[in-house]
Symmetry: C2
Subunit: 668 residues, 2 copies
């Protein structure tokens, strides 16, 4: 690896987003999601399961001197399919000193504060900042003198802390707290939460590591790995990078820590090593396996550590795991996680549509992983997947009005099946207001508000544009500022104009991704040297104010079929245009979408509206099979059909017009 | 209903089966399955999970005077996906006084003794009868003075008996004991077990019923209903019919017994009413729902009681439930139960192939139900389904060598998916030697050995032939004996000749089913009056020795498609010939069966061998799509194909040639 070429995101202050498509989503997050989530964290949403998040911090703050022990009075948590959850025996009168909710509930605050930080960076808001400062005060009040800050154990007894790394999410909560703290410090310059995160990190650094006598465990739900890298990058403290590297190096080593830990906990269920990505040391992993969010969070941390330590074998593992996902386990919506059993990757090419898991958080984690791979070696195949995940599954996770959310993102839905088939219990045919286990909505919020961190990266010589998002981006080259003013109408139109602004001539390389979906792409920057490499066009030379780069990415409708190994999609086709994946909904096409057959002879693109939202629809010619009687089985014969025009809308916009069928893949 | 027309099976003594196809299966059961199962009941099968069945009877016999109570020493049973199971803490040293295995393990003996009885009726065997008598002695030794005979409670404490009717299978075990006892009495004339069953029945009759003070519960797993009818029919004791009727009438009434019972058991999980067919009183049931074995056992009991009591509303419910199955929930293999969640019926037209449950026992239960519907009103649609279930799913449940068994009968198998996809954990791609929860193997044994009870029924005027099985059947008409000698080569050839034997002229009606699969069927009996009604041809008149009936059922290969509401099978076809449903296996067609497409232009029938077993194969023309590169997604276009001849073998014979892919439905 050549360290000199590694790139890093631009700072928030150096990017402005004015993009028509994304501005709307970011404004929804700012005006709807962030305030709604603050109410949710404080259990003020009628009809929604309480979060108990801020309650727990306040309870911990009241109790953190008492250092209770887990005694007989403790009610063991209830295991649900989302993890352990503790509910008050009398919901009307919760104990102010008790911990409630999921064991990882602290992280809801952390993701929220991270989203708040990015939002403040994009859009200063004194009132929101005051609320955030107040919340940080409550959170920090719960921290123990030794730096520990996980309310479940502070409230229930520190004697059990660190005894169940596999299931109980302490290091996951620490990781999110740290990400939030770093973001808030970067956005506001305020370091109270950052100092708390450092003290919490120091608590772990003192207890975990290769040194004799230190714990050889690692996170059950990965997240601390990438967070410690962020903490290292903002503080420069090597010990945080070392701890991240320790967690990564240690993972999957013999003896397996989680099995040893399990044996110390009577009645513990058996460890599924692959679920936790510890079936082998991480450098030996070849196939993306297990819980898909955990997996991509780990891979993101691995990519970070390989970049910062120049670790080739770790980077090679990242490349293998990336390929395992992109070549064999990626939905055409940019989603990952074929099975709800363990919210996990299924086996290669097993990409069921109706029972897909494709968790919103996993698509977000895939964006994390992709950006980190881009930082090491810019290659459009990472950015293509990043864009595919963002424009499809990530934003499908949120309703067009920002008020409800998908956790699971199926590629085919039949409401009756979701309601009557217990095998599809995890699939919701309409978005939900809020979940008790609310990992996805705040994850969407922090993703959307930090979009600038994914659109651009830079190294000494080059400013990379990975995503075409209207707005501006600035970078100093040898102390001289160069600004790109990007005019883009993506995802609806592939013509992009970039105007250069510079007070004085700047020697620089500007690299622009050539999207994989653009056939016969053309690009031009007068008088500059032009090179194409790994899906990026590099324009180098001396830039002057007013220079212009034009990029034309033809945005044809593309009809796809899956590799024949994807049994689920044999004989089926799906449509994309630019970065957008399309789907058919019942509201446009009638019920029984499986009776439609695409012939693809006529395909047109139309401006359209979904739930008042301007979008583009595809009109595709095909036929609909007519019902042929009541018999359960009948002699095979050509079905009677009628010609139809099938309407397809962007996948992200589905389920905004009531309960109905949806399908991405149609019979071809 | 017109009672006079109700028909009943012939006695065992009046039917001989010499049929080439079935003789082989019956001999396997007699020579392989029954001895193997006796070893299994006695835990003498190496490498197989112990049954503990006879151990429990012996333990109960030792302890049945002690009347233990469930004390602190009792280890609570472990809940598995097959129910509660108790395992010894040290498998090498089981406690001779302890109950082990599934709570319903007693029923393994009962199904075995039932199969033994039928086998003895077909094929006397003094050695086997001696073993059976010895087993009956052990079982009867466990019976309490009050008649109670369920080893789980005898061993663990009678204070808890009848406290968990919903889950703990006492009435189920009673039902199977009774069926075994009736069969053994009918086969051998020995009534020791029958008397035990009567005493056990009396125990329940004293405790359950509409009278004040009696328990208003009913079986959690239905079975006692139809068994009590058998006990009534063999003893003539009205109280057994009354108890069966009570269980049926009471089921689903408000207040729901299982919910009341659940509230009396702290920590009991919530009752799924539909799982237990008690979402409504049975006369109001409209859709076949819940655990499919329980459902068809109940419906069989309902049909019996409606016949014996002339209860029209109950019969109407049976007809509705039959239609719900036959019109919306029946696999083309005669299997039922679309989902493993609750081993249950799924919603209408939800008939997944790979994740099918289609339990062998459920197909057997469907045969029970069909025969009982035929007894009320002969209609070939019942017999067609009975035949479809028997020739396909029921015998698919057993390997061609009789040594291994399927519990679940999928219509499509990809071994990698079964091994790597936890959603398919219930699907085994090869048959298993024995199951700890071994309901299916002994159920197959008792079904096959009692085939004569399904081939014929009779009433005063008419002898009905429902299944064409080579052999003979005799009946007295007005005291004069008439024998049919049936020459049939089904399922391979549809030409059937029936020779009449009679010492003196006999006035009689002989009815023969016209199979639904036979187009342009022809039939003839010289000089007899011929009527066709509800799929049966009736020949009436005076019969003389040497009279002959010829029936020609053309056995064309038929290519089927499913109703378009069956999403799983859209665009797919399946093949049958006569009663046999066919499937493609990897061993004949290569891997990736989903790449095959049938064109159906050429279809031929060939004699074939599978695992040394003579059978018929179909050769169907089609194409195989060629792999088109590594990309996960590629531009849609016509697939390159090569012409192939697809080989199909009977479904019942699949998985006898090693681990491989299988599919009933192929792309059309």
């Amino acid at each position: 690896m050549n360290n000199r070429l590694f790139s890093a995101p631009l700072s928030f202050a150096d990017v402005q987003i004015t993009d028509g498509f994304w501005q709307r989503v970011m404004e929804l997050v700012r005006t709807e999601v962030i305030p709604y989530q603050w109410d949710a964290l404080n259990d003020r949403i009628p009809d929604a399961e309480p979060s108990w998040c801020m309650h727990n911090f306040r309870a911990a703050a009241r109790l953190n001197e008492k250092q209770r022990t887990l005694g007989d009075a403790f009610v063991p948590p209830t295991y649900t399919n989302r993890g352990f959850q503790i509910l008050p025996q009398d919901p009307a009168h919760p104990d102010p000193d008790a911990f409630y909710g999921f064991l990882f509930q602290d992280s809801d605050f952390s993701k929220w504060i991270e989203a708040v930080a990015y939002s403040l960076a994009n859009h200063p808001d004194a009132e929101l900042e005051a609320i955030a400062d107040g919340a940080i005060d409550e959170v920090c009040a719960a921290q123990l003198d030794n730096g520990y800050l996980d309310t479940y154990y502070i409230i229930n007894g520190m004697d059990a802390a660190l005894t169940n790394l596999r299931d109980n999410h302490e290091l996951y909560c620490f990781g999110h707290l740290t990400e939030g703290a770093v973001a808030y410090y970067q956005a506001t310059g305020k370091d109270k939460l950052l100092r708390a995160a450092c003290r919490f990190a120091d608590y772990f650094a003192e207890r975990f590591g290769p040194e004799e006598g230190k714990c050889k465990g690692y996170p059950g739900h990965e997240e601390a790995e990438l967070a410690l890298v962020k903490l290292y990058e903002v503080t420069g403290e090597e010990r945080y990078l070392r701890l991240s590297r320790f967690f990564i190096d240690q993972r999957g080593q013999e003896p397996k820590y989680f099995i040893e830990e399990e044996h110390r906990r009577p009645g513990a269920r058996a460890t599924d090593l692959a679920y936790h990505q510890c079936e082998a040391p991480v450098r030996e992993l070849k196939e993306a396996l297990g819980h898909s969010v955990r997996a991509v969070y780990l891979y993101s941390g691995m990519a970070d550590v390989s970049r910062l330590t120049g670790d080739d074998s770790l980077y090679e593992a990242c490349r293998r795991l990336w390929n395992s996902i992109a070549d064999e386990k990626l939905y055409i919506t940019g989603g990952i996680g074929g099975t709800h059993m363990g919210e996990a990757f299924s086996f290669p090419y097993d990409l069921p549509n109706d029972s897909a898991y494709s968790e919103t958080c996993a698509a977000i984690g895939l964006v994390f992983f992709a950006r980190r791979m881009l930082q090491i070696a810019p290659d459009s195949r990472y950015a293509d997947v990043m864009e595919q995940a963002l424009y499809n599954t990530v934003i499908a996770g949120m309703a067009l009005d920002g008020k409800s959310f998908f956790y699971v993102n199926p590629l085919s839905v039949v409401p009756e099946a979701c309601q009557r088939d217990k095998r599809l219990e995890h699939v919701k045919p309409v978005r939900q207001k809020w979940f008790g286990c609310a990992c996805c909505p705040p994850n969407i919020a922090r993703m959307i508000t930090s979009l600038s961190q994914y659109a651009y990266t830079q190294n000494q010589e080059t400013l990379f544009t990975h995503l075409y998002i209207g707005g501006s981006a600035s970078k100093l080259f040898d102390g001289k500022k160069l600004t790109l003013n990007v005019d883009s109408r993506l995802p609806w139109d592939g013509h992009v104009t970039v105007a250069v602004r510079a007070d004085e001539p700047v020697q620089a390389a500007l690299a622009f991704r050539i999207p994989g979906w653009a056939e016969n792409a053309s690009f031009r920057a007068e008088g500059k040297q032009q090179t194409v490499k790994d899906g990026y066009v590099y324009f180098s030379g001396e830039w002057h104010d007013g220079d212009e780069i034009t990029l034309d990415f033809p945005m044809e409708v593309q009809m796809w079929q899956a590799n024949e190994k994807v049994r689920e999609n044999i004989g089926r086709v799906a449509f994309t245009r630019g970065p957008i994946t399309f789907c058919a909904e019942e509201v446009d096409n009638g019920a029984d979408l499986h009776l439609l057959r695409v012939d693809g002879k006529q395909i047109s693109v139309e401006e359209s509206h979904v739930f008042g939202h301007e979008t583009v629809a595809l009109k595709v010619s095909g036929v609909r099979e007519k019902p042929a009687g009541k018999a359960l089985y009948r002699k095979a014969g050509a079905a009677e059909t009628e010609p139809v025009t099938i309407t397809l809308i962007p996948y992200y916009a589905w389920a905004n017009r009531g309960l109905n069928e949806m399908s991405v893949w149609l019979r071809g």
